[in-house]
């Protein structure tokens, strides 16, 4: 028995090392330095208590990043979830070639986000493809391209985010649809329920846990949006998001580790709170739709 325990410990040791060294320690370390004025260039640092946190909420750049992140999350998640659900409903029932469509619709997700961002920088550019499409339907595209106009830049990046992620969430909804037993629909058919009625009384309620899962993982991802912002609008701070802000203050110009860590913890708290609320909603019984 003792030997068994030793073997178990030996087998799990890679995870213990990784967890302690690269997750637990950094999390604690990050919180500690968020209470200091630690910077790269000055090795002496002092405790400042929660001053960094207080300073964040009067820092216009941070508030701006917080606002952009909120717009990003609030704008993309409902749209992505609805489109992904509709796509799953389209590829779920038997159809010749549905496997081909499933794979094709999923492709953007596995493409490097840096590459996607570069391609869309081109498509959104001045005189680019999207501008040409807009002109064709009689709209006037921004003069210097969509990414250099404050009215369109963030929304253009959000549209691209929906494009890259719907295929993935479609697959998760599809797994949810496949888990619904056929007998339910057969019974409903016998009872004379219409297709519409079946959809609203069987499909949607049974997909609720899947929908919550989709929203939770998508929000954990979207609150951390960074690559697109970094690659597509590097010279403009109008589209800065929270991770861009912490990159900019902590790792790019000022190297204010303490201040940036405080920003990271605020982001952490927001994501944790958001996930918790959604998980509580999932547990709660009764109609949510």
């Amino acid at each position: 028995m003792k030997r068994q325990r030793l073997i178990a410990l030996l087998l799990t040791s890679p995870w213990y090392v990784t967890f302690l060294l690269f997750w637990a320690f950094p999390l604690v370390f990050s919180f500690i330095i968020s209470l200091t004025d630690y910077q790269l260039l000055s090795p002496d640092y002092a405790w400042v208590g929660f001053a960094n946190y207080r300073a964040l909420f009067s820092d216009p750049d941070f508030l701006h990043a917080l606002k952009n992140t909120t717009i990003f999350v609030a704008g993309t998640i409902p749209i992505t979830t609805i489109i992904a659900l509709l796509m799953a409903l389209l590829v779920h029932p038997p159809l010749k070639g549905r496997g081909f469509f499933r794979s094709g619709l999923f492709l953007p997700w596995i493409t490097s986000l840096v590459v996607v961002a570069l391609v869309f920088t081109n498509l959104y550019g001045r005189g680019g493809y999207v501008a040409a499409l807009g002109q064709m339907v009689g709209l006037t595209p921004p003069e210097n391209g969509f990414l250099y106009d404050n009215r369109t830049a963030l929304y253009s990046i959000m549209a691209m985010d929906v494009w890259t992620s719907v295929g993935y969430y479609m697959l998760i909804f599809l797994a949810g649809l496949q888990a619904i037993p056929d007998e339910l629909y057969e019974a409903a058919e016998v009872a004379g329920a219409s297709r519409t009625r079946q959809f609203f009384s069987i499909t949607l309620p049974l997909l609720r846990p899947v929908a919550v899962f989709v929203v939770v993982i998508n929000s954990i991802k979207s609150f951390q949006v960074f690559i697109e912002i970094f690659v597509m609008t590097k010279w403009k701070f109008e589209t800065a998001t929270m991770v861009y802000f912490l990159y900019d203050t902590g790792l790019s110009n000022a190297f204010k580790f303490g201040y940036a860590s405080a920003a990271a913890y605020v982001l952490f708290a927001i994501i944790a709170l958001f996930s918790l609320v959604q998980l509580i909603l999932l547990r709660r019984r009764g109609p949510v739709w």
């Binding site: 178990a8 389209l90 490097s112 993935y168 697959l171 797994a175």
Partner: protein
């Protein structure tokens, strides 16, 4: 009972799906088209449709070396990280599934905890740790923190829990050692889940940007996504060359995807792939 569907509804589904597929595939087709355009093309409609077709962008990238070096870095880092995950996630996942000790329950709880932690929250401390430990700007920083991932442990554990332990017990009675049970008996049975795990880890690592970007500064250590993002950092963008480099980043993933698509789709639908 077969539920009949009217033919017009099927037709509508095809129309809708084809339109969606067009939207999803068009940007990739555009990238490949521009990658073969002669440098200096205007990217106007007439150039894209009627312009030349050349391999020169790719041969330029080969002579310049930056992108090819980054491609090699990505391949080496990706393969080592993938091999590490297959080995370590298998070991840990097996232990968590078969040895139900208190320590292992703690280990599993810590896995679930890490799955919920946003990865970018620890970007600053990891950077500081890399600087202080001398790992900054080395392959170690690109590889070691990612050799075992909670999602991989999770996948393997779930899979092994679905296999009855009778084979292992029989081998134990026959006097087989724990290590040979682990690697000669259990590992071959786990091949399907390890394939899914390997693909997911490789693709995620191949595409990852933030950590390789902040943990290295030498040009010779850049991975492909980092090198591409740096190429674009100039005011006047040379699109044909940039798209040629992008195509090099996409093609390996496409190849893996088309060969393994059944595994990939079923793996995700079984509840995995966290990016």
């Amino acid at each position: 009972m077969v539920r009949r569907t009217h033919w017009s509804l099927t037709g509508l589904r095809y129309v809708a799906l084809s339109a969606l597929l067009g939207i999803m595939v068009f940007p990739m087709l555009w990238m490949f088209r521009v990658a073969f355009l002669p440098a200096g093309s205007s990217l106007s409609g007439s150039d894209v449709l009627g312009g030349g077709l050349t391999l020169k962008n790719f041969s330029d990238l080969a002579t310049d070396g930056t992108i090819v070096g980054a491609l090699l870095n990505s391949a080496v880092v990706g393969l080592v990280v993938t091999a590490g995950n297959v080995l370590f996630c298998f070991m840990v996942g097996y232990a968590l599934a078969r040895h139900r000790t208190i320590a292992n329950k703690v280990a599993f709880a810590s896995c679930l905890l890490v799955l919920m932690i946003p990865a970018h929250v620890v970007v600053i401390p990891l950077y500081v740790m890399a600087i202080k430990s001398g790992w900054y700007d080395s392959y170690a920083a690109l590889i070691i923190p990612w050799l075992v991932t909670p999602i991989g442990i999770f996948l393997v554990k779930q899979y092994i829990e679905g296999i009855p332990p009778s084979l292992e017990e029989a081998a134990r009675i026959d006097g087989a050692g724990e290590m040979s049970i682990l690697f000669r008996i259990v590992m071959p049975i786990c091949k399907p889940v390890l394939v899914v795990l390997a693909i997911q880890v490789f693709v995620t690592n191949w595409n990852s940007f933030l950590y390789p970007f902040i943990l290295t500064s030498r040009a010779s250590l850049r991975t492909l996504p980092v090198a591409l993002a740096m190429l674009q950092g100039h005011q006047a963008i040379d699109w044909p060359h940039l798209m040629a480099g992008s195509a090099l980043a996409v093609v390996p993933v496409l190849v893996v995807f088309f060969v393994m698509q059944r595994h990939i789709l079923s793996g995700i639908m079984a509840g995995g792939l966290k990016q």
